[in-house]
Symmetry: D2
Subunit: 355 residues, 4 copies
Amino acid sequence: MSVQKLKVGMAGLGRVGKIHANNFLHQTPRAELVAAFTPDPKEIAWGRQHLEPYGVTLYDDYEKMLEHPGLQAVVIGTATSVHAEETMKAIDRDLHVLCEKPLSTNVEVCKAVVQKAKTKPHLKVMCGFSRRFDDSYRDVYNKINQGLIGRPSIVRSQTCDKLDPSGFYVAYAAWSGGVFVDMSVHDIDLTLWFFGDDALPKSISAHGITAVQPELKKYNDYDNAVGIVEFHNGKIAYYYCSRMMPHGQEDTTEVIGTEGKLSVNINPQHNFVNFYHPGGITREVPGNFIGRFGAAFVREANEFTASCLDNTPLPIKLTNAVKAVEIGSYLQEALVTGKQIHFDEVGRRAERASL
Amino acid sequence: MSVQKLKVGMAGLGRVGKIHANNFLHQTPRAELVAAFTPDPKEIAWGRQHLEPYGVTLYDDYEKMLEHPGLQAVVIGTATSVHAEETMKAIDRDLHVLCEKPLSTNVEVCKAVVQKAKTKPHLKVMCGFSRRFDDSYRDVYNKINQGLIGRPSIVRSQTCDKLDPSGFYVAYAAWSGGVFVDMSVHDIDLTLWFFGDDALPKSISAHGITAVQPELKKYNDYDNAVGIVEFHNGKIAYYYCSRMMPHGQEDTTEVIGTEGKLSVNINPQHNFVNFYHPGGITREVPGNFIGRFGAAFVREANEFTASCLDNTPLPIKLTNAVKAVEIGSYLQEALVTGKQIHFDEVGRRAERASL
Amino acid sequence: MSVQKLKVGMAGLGRVGKIHANNFLHQTPRAELVAAFTPDPKEIAWGRQHLEPYGVTLYDDYEKMLEHPGLQAVVIGTATSVHAEETMKAIDRDLHVLCEKPLSTNVEVCKAVVQKAKTKPHLKVMCGFSRRFDDSYRDVYNKINQGLIGRPSIVRSQTCDKLDPSGFYVAYAAWSGGVFVDMSVHDIDLTLWFFGDDALPKSISAHGITAVQPELKKYNDYDNAVGIVEFHNGKIAYYYCSRMMPHGQEDTTEVIGTEGKLSVNINPQHNFVNFYHPGGITREVPGNFIGRFGAAFVREANEFTASCLDNTPLPIKLTNAVKAVEIGSYLQEALVTGKQIHFDEVGRRAERASL
Amino acid sequence: MSVQKLKVGMAGLGRVGKIHANNFLHQTPRAELVAAFTPDPKEIAWGRQHLEPYGVTLYDDYEKMLEHPGLQAVVIGTATSVHAEETMKAIDRDLHVLCEKPLSTNVEVCKAVVQKAKTKPHLKVMCGFSRRFDDSYRDVYNKINQGLIGRPSIVRSQTCDKLDPSGFYVAYAAWSGGVFVDMSVHDIDLTLWFFGDDALPKSISAHGITAVQPELKKYNDYDNAVGIVEFHNGKIAYYYCSRMMPHGQEDTTEVIGTEGKLSVNINPQHNFVNFYHPGGITREVPGNFIGRFGAAFVREANEFTASCLDNTPLPIKLTNAVKAVEIGSYLQEALVTGKQIHFDEVGRRAERASL
């Protein structure tokens, strides 16, 4: 009896796409990467070197890849702007989908994908929030469920990138949806995980600055922003996102309950080395999210695969992905307009005038 | 030649008053505690045991203490509600004053004290923000001034007390001025220190919950609150205050600049001990602010004394104390009303309607 | 063009064997696990479930596995007592070998394997010291080579296992070679890596106790031991090994140079979570070496494979493995006899009488 | 009723003497520094500036200081070579004595002091091992006594100074008694505290190098040394002392028991600040023992004073000081001769021949 493997096609071979491709190819025993698509000739060249020798067929046309014989699932790691369309095309072809976050920076588009997915309940359609697969965040979730901190009441969470002096992210801001949608969406997703899916925002405030990249202003974006989401169930989450960390990636989360607190990554570290020198004691920090979450991506690939093959529930509901983008969009709106946003107890937005 | 000592009178022998009394008595070589006042018979009894044997005269009347022969300075550690009045009376009598924070929870009253102090410029009148005397915060201030982090742009600062299950702080909320004035005023003061006195708020938002003490609501107060202050000079400070820490006092600050970051107390610890046991590795945390800032109070006493004796500038300007309370009051207002507050570039409050 | 994969057979499917089997099967892109041998029916059953479905042929006879068609390399993870014999048989059959440490607990036997390997210089024969493949130890090695700590002069290194209350290791002591050979051999290997292969012992001292397992005495072994190796080149290494850690695996190393110091794993941690509770702040620790060194085993598999396929030098010289066992044996002798051992400058053992 | 204060005279105003003088003058409420002696004109000048203004009489003759009217106690912080003589003279004059460690580097001289002290049991004679007064070490001692780690079995302890490039300690080695007597005596004292005074050495080994100061060899001393003391009661202590730490003072101790472990100062730090920069995260370390143990010296002064005034037992037995020096001397002998030393169960030294 030999192992049945999930035949997977990879869409996009950029930074995240390469990671997914390698993970499904080499680190996911029950999956078989059979195809990969990218419109980018440089990425095709990379695929020729790293994927083709292992039997992966390369495509420069997404729809043709979907026709690859026996294909069962698609992993989407292309530009955010085509996530939704590619996801829906894959659903049309009866393929399971793992789509990189976000489905879209537009909430309505996200909702349309969810509607589409509902029409084919036998398919597994997941939006990949990598932190849900991280060992530390899993541990926090389990400890909360064991009651170790009482009732979780406050979440502090930040997504902070190492400063990229090339300013690449300025151009990127044109279509990223803004820092809260692009970066904090991870922190919002964690909040919903820890507070419960039923958490409804009550009011939202946000403030930002452009400390190192004033050009961001033309895209109505910021390089540092802070936001608060107050929920109707007596909980608060507050977020910080920044693109100017000097030392590396620093994604930190605290969950404060009525009887205890849990933190993740209060002391970021690249490895277990300390260097002692006349200036003190120094440790290094991962330079990017891969250094911190590489193993989470591998686990994501394996759990998605198992869910498809065994027809078991996915570890993340697709609706979560919509809600996280929705709250991120509200934060971004509050940031850009400089106005607090309020919601009533059934989630309807309150007009300021009615306050 | 013998040392000239500053003759000091202590007003109030409650929790903080006892600390100041002991510090001026035993840890401030250039000061001499000659008198102490308290209206409370229990505190008088404590004074009989701990102060009188060292030659301190006890008074149950503040004004009588002010007449103590040769008295040069008063340290005020009574209830906040009488801070301002006692400070002004001492100024009237030509005495230097070190007053515990805040001068008052009311901004106008604070300003009145400042005005009064201006009439006697030869007197040293200081409001004691203890963290300004803490070795770690001093180090941060110096490193910022050395340019180690570029332009400071973001402050995150929290004042978090260990949960007091007695609920003492509920009654206290009746006159504390609210959590932002009572607790975060320290964080605001640090912000003004690190960002510069000229930092003017642009907009202020705040949100809070009552997670463990619902009775706080009757005083319009909260046991956990988060606030953001955006400044006109392209800087942001955000604050968290809480009265429900399970593990102890956790006052943490981060200052993020364009080229570096500094943190204080990211890893709170009571001492240098780690305990390794089947559940992991555990370290203990100070149970209150004395465990964390005890040495800062001693330094405060010594520097205040030196400033009085040598007629040198005080380490903190009295106007700072007003500004910190003012911003704290705005945060509290934003918290209670659920409305963001905006200010124009000269510091005038903007009406919502005009936005 | 498809990838050429190294055809690997696994000998032994015990604790470490299972790890190697899984690594070569699922995490080593350029290798293909084609065969596995174990004499143990329980392990065969495990293989049926976890290996056979992926096309691995199972054998209960080592020599038969060696005849598996196309086999190119053998990974030996059986009991230490058969390591040497199995390695030599594989060499006889012209197969590359990755043998778990140690080749043997007997130095002469180790040397015989090295001699055998020399007769077939085209074969890659490596003894797997996993820490050489750990990211943190690699970083230390590189930093030393960059001159960051000046001349490395002192190594402190410990191998400390979580207490196994079953006392399994008592029976194991009958043939483990003793704690210094079984456990500290890793620390000795690291020492030779950091100090240089040419480091020659000058004198060796060791002391031990049986704190939790007095029965160890019948095997002349100890559950805690400390040893010092002084080298002729003005360097010292000192070791601690223990089987009674309450909290988990704690393998810590410090390398102290004339201008700097490096440490590895001063603060053991299972993940990035801290738990804050009324007793303080607690983090968990890996329970065993897999929790600490799992990724190093994967890298070992990949680098061994690359070396075989590309005919490039192995990352560890086989002679190192002999030297580490030799020093471990001297430490064990010093421990058991209670006598210091001395060596002259060409490595000859000095008789006490001549001192 | 006024406080009765202990009238104290300070002998020696060098580095440690200044600290003691200041502590007894300004931080010991129940003591009064009335006199100070030093033969050194520079130190007299310092005393004129810092002590005389507070009413301290200065002497350049030790015996004259002993005649200071009303003197009750002497604190001895002069050169080690005169500790014993000065202590005995003070005893002769019926004065309490706090003598800096060690009483002498010569064990017989130490014993003579103990004998002398026994003749006047009403006097308090203490040798100041500052770590016994450190909050963290006290905590460890208490946790051991509460049974938190089961039976303490292994002590690892190190005294490591920041490299002093002036090489001052080379000249100092001429009369310091050697590194184990000068530095490790603290670690040995801690060991006796944690293991119990009845711990008898069984065998002792030691090895050392001169990594940065080869001139030390002419004094038979070393700049780095490692030693092991095995005790008859099934316990082991091992020590490391070094004078070449790049980063600062690093005095670390671990106590490993059958059910738990305690560590002190695994992560040395000067204050609570972390600096985040492109090279990672850095914290600073105290540059010397004052930065680490300053508060312990203050507590020592206060507890010694209380013991004298209240006629309560001293916190350290004088005999401990002898035993620590004795073990230190054996370690030093083992280090210099390159020979292990053995003892029988009643503490008699065993000849090698009899083994």
